[in-house]
């Protein structure tokens, strides 16, 4: 049984200029323990989908289950099963790493002692031990991201949603984070659902890709299968494959400009 499955998931926003269909029809399934790359151009509906799957936003159509809990009827179950790291993160820069981790544990209904212990454990796991008494605002970008992820792992979720986790990180921090994500899956069997704009990242990390455009799933499969089907060969770059799928190129190599 898939750990995430959605059927016709849709979200329309009512704006002053009329309805905007951010997500039209998302049908997808994610297997337990899979790392799924969720790709698409800006405005394709990636973040909206993530916010629906994490109960932050009610769908206006369709249905979904996460870890066996129905999104509409059991949001509390979904919340217990999943962790979410938003693009912006979610820590107060004035608060220390330890206090944020402990409060997060308490929000997940741990006792004070359990929450303190869990904070230490998470800090050890994510290399934050020396930073526990530092304010979140004083962390580097990479450290900050590790803290965001530590917060989301507080309750050992079955599914971890990451929205553009490596945006703005230096190459070393990115490599670090990739290793962390793989370790989570390998050691704890955590299912990881991540969005990214870095196609090398999607290629290197994901077991499978789902590509969305204009609120609809336009392609899905392993990176290799997608390259073969849409990029022309398994040696095609994911960049060209992505552009071919989302209909913005690639431009043939011999195409001369019509006018200069």
């Amino acid at each position: 049984m898939p750990i995430i499955s959605t059927a016709g998931l849709a979200r329309t926003f009512q704006t002053k200029r009329g309805p905007v269909e951010a997500v039209r029809v998302i049908d997808l399934t994610v297997r337990e323990g899979e790392i799924l790359g969720f790709l698409g151009p800006n405005g394709a509906g990636k973040t909206t989908t993530l916010r629906m799957l994490t109960t932050l936003l009610a769908p206006t159509g369709g249905a979904a289950t996460v870890a066996g809990c129905d999104l509409a009827t059991d949001p509390a179950g979904v919340r217990r099963a999943c962790g979410y790291v938003a693009q912006s993160g979610g820590v107060d820069p004035q608060i220390t790493v330890r206090e944020e981790l402990i409060t997060q544990g308490r929000l997940y209904r741990l006792t004070k002692a359990q929450a303190a212990e869990r904070a230490e454990e998470l800090a050890r796991d994510l290399g934050l031990t020396d930073l526990l008494d530092r304010k979140a605002g004083a962390l580097s970008g990479g450290q900050r991201r590790r803290l965001d992820i530590a917060m989301a792992l507080t309750h050992r979720p079955k599914v971890l949603f990451l929205d553009e986790p490596t945006t703005g990180l230096d190459p070393a921090s990115r490599a670090d984070l990739w290793a962390l994500i793989r370790r989570l899956r390998d050691e704890h069997g955590t299912t990881v659902f991540l969005t990214t704009h870095y196609l090398d990242e999607a290629d290197a990390l994901s077991d499978r890709l789902v590509i969305v455009d204009q609120g609809v799933v336009v392609a899905e499969g392993t990176p290799t299968a997608l390259k073969l089907a849409h990029g022309g060969s398994i040696d095609a770059s994911l960049q060209d494959t992505f552009l071919a799928i989302t209909g913005r190129g690639p431009v043939p190599a011999d195409a001369a400009p019509v006018a200069v």
Partner: protein, 249 residues
Amino acid sequence: MLLQDTALIYGRYARQTLRSRFALLFGVLMPLLYLLFFGPLLTNLPLGGQGSSWQVLVPGLLLQLGLFGASFAGFTIIIENSQGVVERMRVTPVSRLALLLGRVLRDATLFVFQAVLLVLAALAMGLRAPLPGVLIGFAFVALLTVSLASLSYALAMKVRTPQEFGPAINATTMPMMLLSGLMLPMTLGPTWLDVLSHFTPFRYLVDAIRDAYIGSYTTAHMLYGTLVAIAFAALAVTVGTRVFRTAGA
């Protein structure tokens, strides 16, 4: 669950307030200036009613403190929204009502604390009022801040930018303050103004506190003030809870 969650959220924001000594005291500055520079102008004026001019002015200043302080409480949630803190909490199983109540109770504590400072300063200036009356005044400040802070958070969740939020609050609080007779009793004015002021909830509250400050606890003003304060708080918390339940949706 609700109590535990509320205590947790309250603790988080109370610590946040304690970290900023400046914010702790700043709110009391404006009413304090009124007390110092406006209060002495009233001492020999015929304000109608019993008691000294301080017993008329201080109840108004207490509500002014709540009105201008608690109405702006929503600014903090606009900041936290942009930091992602609100959504981070909303994906946890924490009670949605606690996310509101914890914050609102922190605000009530803060403004009652400032109200105590204000009354102490007023005592030094010459205020004399019975202790039960003063305590009743604090209870009204607490209820009013719960109401206004709830509405302020609800609005802040809806508008999302400080550029919209600030002017919206200013445009509401200024006429409210003028119309409610916080500075001078509305009974001094023409009938139309007196009647108009009864359309704001603050009018009933200030009348009740003024009665409390002269030791009249069983008046019609007190009854209406209490009813309006409780009804306003119930309405505001209901609106706030509804917004916090469905925020983003």
